[in-house]
């Protein structure tokens, strides 16, 4: 169970290989990789800010919750911060379980939480200047379907 918040890019293949290497107990690995979307060309860059310390602790807490809810063999969260360009990778969630449904549901749960409740703030740059992104209610709904 690992959580990393970093400015550096991550390599999906390398993370997947490290995650599964030498293991014969995993029925499947579910993975979600978030990318910076250009949004019809209006977003030219995005900067992610976090609260060092608090952000990592909250990510560790949600990973522990996922592990309590589903029979996971392993979980990984890698989240980038700093200035990112369209097409750049932002976030990686990987979950492994003997059971396909558990890994898929846990991955879905974690990325919904990360996309809505995780302590990150986004600053978007576009052709008409930069602005801080407001929290979206539709995203809160996506996270709320997991109950508590």
């Amino acid at each position: 169970m690992v959580v990393r918040v970093q400015a550096e890019d991550f390599d999906v293949g390398q993370e997947f290989a490290r995650f599964t290497q030498g293991r014969t107990d995993l029925g499947g690995v579910a993975l979600f990789a978030g990318l910076v979307r250009a949004d019809q060309g209006s977003v030219t860059a995005m900067t992610l800010e976090h609260y060092p310390g608090m952000t990592e602790r909250q990510l560790e807490a949600i990973e522990a919750e996922a592990r309590a809810r589903w029979p996971l063999d392993d979980a990984l969260i890698v989240h980038r911060v700093g200035r990112l360009l369209p097409g750049d990778r932002i976030v990686l969630v990987m979950t492994a379980s003997a059971h396909r449904q558990a890994s898929l549901d846990a991955c879905h749960f974690l990325i919904d939480w990360l996309k809505t409740k995780a302590p990150f703030w986004k600053f978007e740059e576009g052709s008409s200047g930069g602005k801080w992104v407001d929290a979206k209610e539709t995203d809160d709904e996506a996270a709320s379907r997991w109950g508590k």
């Binding site: 609260y51 310390g53 608090m54 602790r57 990360l114 996309k115 409740k117 801080w132």
Partner: protein, 83 residues
Amino acid sequence: MKILYFASIRARVGHGEEEIALPPDVKTVADLVGWLKSRGDTYAEALAEARTLRAALNQEHVSFDAAIKNSDEVAFFPPVTGG
């Protein structure tokens, strides 16, 4: 007391971190917000939008009636937008 500002709040305050000596009559997060606002227009404007102001006390989300002391770390930020 260590105070941290993030995102749009940080941008408006003009800095991300400061150390203050907590005045004795400032007992809650709400008191702290009031005291900071009294320090000048920059703070008053940065912390004006109560609806979208969030606080953390020692890296845990708290409501504004949470009690604070001088050794605490308090952070102010807008609602998180996720990753």
